[in-house]
């Protein structure tokens, strides 16, 4: 195939793809879950080290894979969170096996799919060719669909079916958008792989036909916007996040939504390069605000704990979309910081929630009370996590939200008012829930749980640390990426 011929020699960037692929192949053959989960952790750690290596030595871009400032931080984030999630899933799976919810055969299937998912997310983030990025997003969707339905209960299969149908439909629309962009590029730039490469498209954006770009962007926005979970195409999100195993919920919330947003932003960067095409800003601002308000309002009468936090994901993704829609250096910076902080915090919350659900044996919040008394470590970590996700200081989310509100207020005050309203509604909905969950007389199962706490502590520590102090080179680097986003 032409793809392999163009790749040339094996470079470190390819190891981001080779390591998970090899690990997936090995994991299919390993029957025992304990060995499988350990190989899972080791492979994720190696992928993380490789990502840091790429961070230092950038390879030469070609038409298929490339590394620039925008995607490398997402690659490092993805590999880091996959590593901590694999550590969490090792102890989570141990408990699932004890209760019999997940049988032996499925454990090996699960680990192999986990590595396939990391592979496809890395490929989506690192690819230069829009077609390759599409294939990777499709593969990531497929692996997560299979994993959401892995418990094979009626609710899980229904959630997995809805997830599959909605996201595949959306991705097909995005493919049509990609075809249209290729169409106009092949006419003006010349056909072949160059016309599908993002770097080439961005550099020659003002040569492309604006009418075609408009139609293509709308298709891509609807398609990838559904993957991000923007209203009104969000219907798959609560079910998929709540019915699958908790490590998958963590990965979906923390990583896959980011990948969808990344693809959307790549399209945005192309279209802003063309002066005559439509302005993507107002569209993103509008949809983002609606998602924010919707997510906040829907937090109100949820009784399933995972669904509660999945609506919180919708809310935060709406906020990030709003930030990137506003544009300009400060809003983009806020969006980027929020992406990182939200991924870390939300995955930490899902880790805690997973342990809570395992201990109590249910996801129904009415049956969970007094966690700080019965299970102090988990309970207090939940308190810290929810306070972070609400955007209260000293969490890193407070920093990015503050930045966003101030820059919005100086440009469009009314939007800032709506933004703050949404955030306050979310706060008002989450804190009473937290109070009910964490304090009071303990109910349900009071036995202690053997868990791996260090991923949780690491995530929340990073978020709180970033809220207090962000190292200067890191900050400057984020500002550079924000300028790139335009």
């Amino acid at each position: 195939m032409s793809l392999l011929a163009d790749l040339g020699a094996i470079q470190p960037i390819h190891f981001a793809l080779i390591i998970p692929a090899v690990a997936a192949g090995i994991l299919v053959l390993i029957p025992g879950y304990r060995l499988g989960s350990q190989i899972n952790i080791v492979s994720s750690f190696l992928t993380l080290l490789n990502a840091l290596a790429i961070f230092h030595t950038r390879p030469e871009p070609n038409y298929y894979l490339f590394v620039d400032d925008f995607n490398i931080y997402l690659v490092v984030l993805t590999d880091f969170i996959s590593f901590t999630t694999s550590a969490f899933s090792a102890s989570y799976l141990a408990h699932e096996k004890e209760t019999g919810r997940l049988t032996r055969g499925y454990a090996r299937f699960y680990h192999a799919m986990f590595q396939c998912m990391i592979l496809s997310m890395n490929l989506a983030l690192l690819s230069n060719s829009l077609g390759l990025m599409w294939v990777a997003v499709e593969a990531a969707t497929m692996t997560t669909v299979i994993m959401v339905g892995i418990y094979r209960t009626e609710a899980a299969i229904r959630a997995s079916w809805k997830y599959f149908m909605l996201t595949s439909l959306a991705i097909s629309l995005a493919l049509f958008g990609i075809t249209l962009i290729y169409f106009t590029a092949s006419v003006t730039i010349g056909s072949g792989p160059a016309a599908l490469a993002w770097t080439v498209l961005r550099d020659n954006a003002n040569l492309l036909d604006p009418a075609v770009l408009n139609v293509a962007f709308v298709f891509a926005f609807v398609g990838f916007g559904t993957k991000v979970g923007l209203v009104p195409c969000h219907a798959w999100l609560p079910d998929a996040h709540s019915e699958g195993p908790t490590p998958i919920s963590a990965v979906l919330s923390g990583l896959l939504l980011n990948v969808g947003l990344y693809a959307l932003l790549r399209f945005k960067m192309i279209i802003v390069g063309n002066g005559l095409a439509l302005e993507p800003g107002p569209l993103m601002v509008g949809v983002g605000l609606v998602s924010l308000l919707f997510g906040s309002l829907m937090l109100y009468r949820r009784w399933d704990i995972k669904r509660l936090f999945s609506y919180s994901s919708i809310e935060h993704m709406g906020l990030i979309t709003f930030a990137f829609g506003m544009g300009g250096p400060l809003a983009n910076l806020a969006g980027l910081l929020h992406m990182v902080m939200h991924s870390l915090t939300k995955s930490a919350i899902f880790f805690v929630v997973g342990h809570v659900a395992q201990v109590k044996g249910t996801q129904d919040m009415a049956k969970i009370r007094g966690l700080t008394t019965s299970h102090p470590v988990i309970g207090w970590l939940l308190v810290v996590g929810v306070i972070s996700i609400c955007g209260l200081p000293p969490s890193g989310l407070f920093m990015s939200e503050f930045l966003l509100i101030t820059t919005t207020f100086s440009r469009e005050p009314i939007l800032a008012v709506i933004l703050v309203l949404g955030l306050l509604i979310a706060l008002g909905n989450l804190i009473p829930r937290l109070h009910a969950l964490a304090f009071g007389v303990p109910e349900g199962n009071l036995e202690p749980l053997k868990t791996a706490i260090w991923p949780l502590v690491l995530h929340l520590g990073l978020v709180l640390g970033a809220g207090l102090y962000l190292p200067e080179p890191l900050f400057a680097w984020f500002q550079h990426v924000a300028a790139m986003l335009g």
């Binding site: 077609g131 094979r152 209960t153 079916w161 149908m165 049509f176 599908l196 036909d209 009784w303 044996g361």
Partner: protein, 224 residues
């Protein structure tokens, strides 16, 4: 190839892609499940023919591979698998629709007008064949979405999704020289094959109301 007259090839290409749009309408009209699957097989066969003809017109030889995949998998293997699933699980033979077929077809006609209006400014500078190809591709795409929306049954929703994919592959074959067409069409086919396999494996009955009790893994979960 046998036909050497280029204008005749263009006209036949146009006729075949138009026939795909007509078969998409026919898919909306069907009221029995077996007829829907057979109509879809015809749809995939037409796609294979169009893509093979485009491969000949554009002299792109990897499109022949795409055409072969379309015919082998979508026209033969997947319809056979779906017929097998219907027989084995004894599913309902009539299709329940959200609205009547007449209303659905009228909505489909509206979507044709939308497709023409959206694609007109896009293709204003192109030659006739690419224009026709993109407009018909968008028609097939929109009619596939309409079919997915107006069906209650899992199998007919999957058929609607596959007809949508056929529209996408038609669009990709029409724009000259798109790279990775074979890879993308393989990815799409693998996706659908996985879902059909999953339907068999997970035993999805229509409306999930008669799932086999033996396969419920646990009963401790509360569902919303």
């Amino acid at each position: 190839m046998l036909m050497t007259d280029p204008k005749l090839k263009l006209e036949i290409c146009y006729l075949l892609s138009g026939s795909m749009a007509i078969v998409s309408f026919a898919l909306l009209y069907q009221s029995r499940m077996a007829a829907t699957i057979n109509t879809f097989a015809v749809h995939a066969l037409l796609l294979g023919l169009v893509v093979a003809l485009q491969a000949d017109i554009q002299a792109e030889h990897n499109l022949y591979l795409t055409a072969a995949i379309a015919v082998l998998f979508k026209a033969i293997a997947i319809p056979l698998a779906l017929h097998f699933i219907i027989r084995k699980f004894d599913l309902h033979r009539t299709i329940e629709m959200v609205v009547s077929p007449g209303l659905t077809m009228t909505a489909g006609l509206g979507l044709v007008v939308v497709a023409v209006m959206v694609m007109r400014p896009v293709t204003v500078h192109s030659d006739a064949l690419v224009t026709a190809d993109l407009i018909f591709a968008m028609v097939v795409l929109l009619l596939g979405i309409l079919m997915m929306i107006t069906r209650r049954n899992a199998i007919t929703q999957v058929v609607g999704f596959m007809s949508l994919e056929n529209g996408l592959i038609l669009a990709m074959a029409g724009v000259h020289g798109m790279p990775l067409v074979v890879e993308i069409s393989v990815a799409l086919t693998v996706l659908v094959a996985c879902i059909v396999f999953g339907m068999f494996f997970f035993r999805i009955r229509e409306r999930f109301s008669s799932l086999d009790i033996r396969h419920l893994e646990s009963d401790g979960r509360v569902s919303q």
